[in-house]
Symmetry: C2
Subunit: 272 residues, 2 copies
């Protein structure tokens, strides 16, 4: 198997350049990629250090490393482009066409991310705290302040999805677990009825939930397949009867569940 060193270079966290770079690399089978993350490359000396690492990898591999970059600063890019590498910049390639269609010149300055903006930081922290305070329905009296209330049986993905919605989008996401008692009721539990319009259900394959529960409480009735099947069936019956929108989260990542919920509800994000 051939192998190749891959650098993800960014003047910030490098999360975006790595995601996109890995999606591209996934298109090529049979190559052993060795990833190296170089975040916060935001001055000449950082770029020169990066250049040393890239050239060293070229010598060791006897093949030019692949360098994915989202560097904005032209000088810093220039230093890396001068290395023995295949340089793939996600940024500069598009500036020209954008500038042309918009009739505006690009700034070409690094600039801080929107995420370090103070008011947005505070909104984010507030949303995360809201979600933590309303995890597992601990303070049902404050559900009125929720933007959305995820509901479903234990371990159906409510908590991680709520955390993602609050962290990524500043959404006040609360969590209302359906207990065994709730599932025997002919209708929604009284405490959550006033907020019916905010409810969104999660359904999940009973075998998947059994695996997750098994990690939590091995060999328990709680984790048995029969119990999981019963609860999921009852929850779906409740969603249908009460006209609560719901999705099957089984084969979805947390990001996919969150994005699908945004798409289906039209919920407004506090920031992107």
């Amino acid at each position: 198997m051939t192998s190749r060193t891959v650098f993800f270079v960014s003047d910030r966290t490098g999360i975006t350049v790595e995601t996109l770079g890995r999606a591209l690399l996934a298109q090529f089978e049979g190559v052993d990629f060795r990833p190296v993350n170089l975040p916060f490359v935001d001055d000449i000396s950082d770029a020169e250090e990066a250049a040393v690492l890239i050239n060293r990898a070229a010598e060791t591999d006897r093949a030019p490393p692949i360098v994915f970059s989202t560097l904005v600063d032209r000088k810093l890019r220039g230093i890396l482009q001068g290395c023995d590498c295949v340089f793939l910049g996600f940024f500069e390639h598009y500036l020209g066409r954008l500038s042309e269609t918009l009739g505006v010149k690009p700034l070409e300055a690094g600039g801080r991310s929107h995420l370090s903006d103070t008011s947005e930081y505070l909104q984010r922290i507030e949303a995360i705290n809201y979600t933590l305070d309303h995890d597992d329905g601990v303070s049902a009296e404050n559900l009125g302040k929720a933007d959305i209330i995820l509901t479903g049986v234990s371990r159906s993905g409510k908590t991680p999805t709520c955390l993602y919605l609050s962290m990524q989008f500043g959404i006040h996401a609360a969590n209302f677990p359906l207990t065994e008692d709730d599932l025997e009721l002919p209708q929604l539990p009284a405490s959550v009825k006033p907020y019916k319009e905010k409810l969104f259900g999660l359904k999940i394959d009973p075998r998947r939930i059994r695996n997750i529960r098994e990690q939590r409480r091995p060999n328990s009735r709680y984790a048995s397949l029969a119990q999981c099947q019963y609860e999921i069936r009852q929850a779906e019956r409740l969603f249908k009867k009460s006209h609560i929108p719901y999705i099957d989260s089984t084969s979805k990542s947390i990001e996919e569940i969150a994005t699908t919920i945004l798409q289906q509800t039209g919920l407004t994000r506090r920031f992107y």
Copy 2:
């Protein structure tokens, strides 16, 4: 001010295409961009629906919309490229050069994300649960299982950073808050001493922390500037004396704090 509709089109969540697209748009001042997210465009009929929206925006705006795309499938891309738009694809542009340097043909198939892989989903859930169970030091006896223990005064950013580390990277991140009593000690609290090597400190501007605390408990001694200044000073003294690495989180986003910690500690991610 000129205005322009911008589409972020993806066969998955669209989070990456939007991040990158917005970073590019931030280079152009004086334009009123109207963003539209089109996630999960993964079949012909979705692409045709997207095309209708794009062409309609072109008519309304009397200017071609900007379409950022991470679509992998050539047919779906073709449908959008046929619209009245400026099509900027983050994917296809790089496949050719990668294919050439690697000597391998690209698959050009959508493929599922690594994130919907079951074992990774379970690892992620487990890491998030670990972090939630160890938030605010509630079960100090289990700190031994932590990959990292963030420490600092109340509201210095420990909890959101721990959640991000667990959600994004599967890291078991615990949280050890320094209380007023702890801060008067000449050394680390006894309960955390055995795990000294795992500690990482967060420092924050006292005025910033005062704002955050003020939201929590308005006009309290806890939120007073004098108290915040005292606690931060004592915490930093403790970090220095005990040789605990620490960073100033004041002007950083949660992503930046997390990435800096990974970079400084060399902590291994369970997935990217």
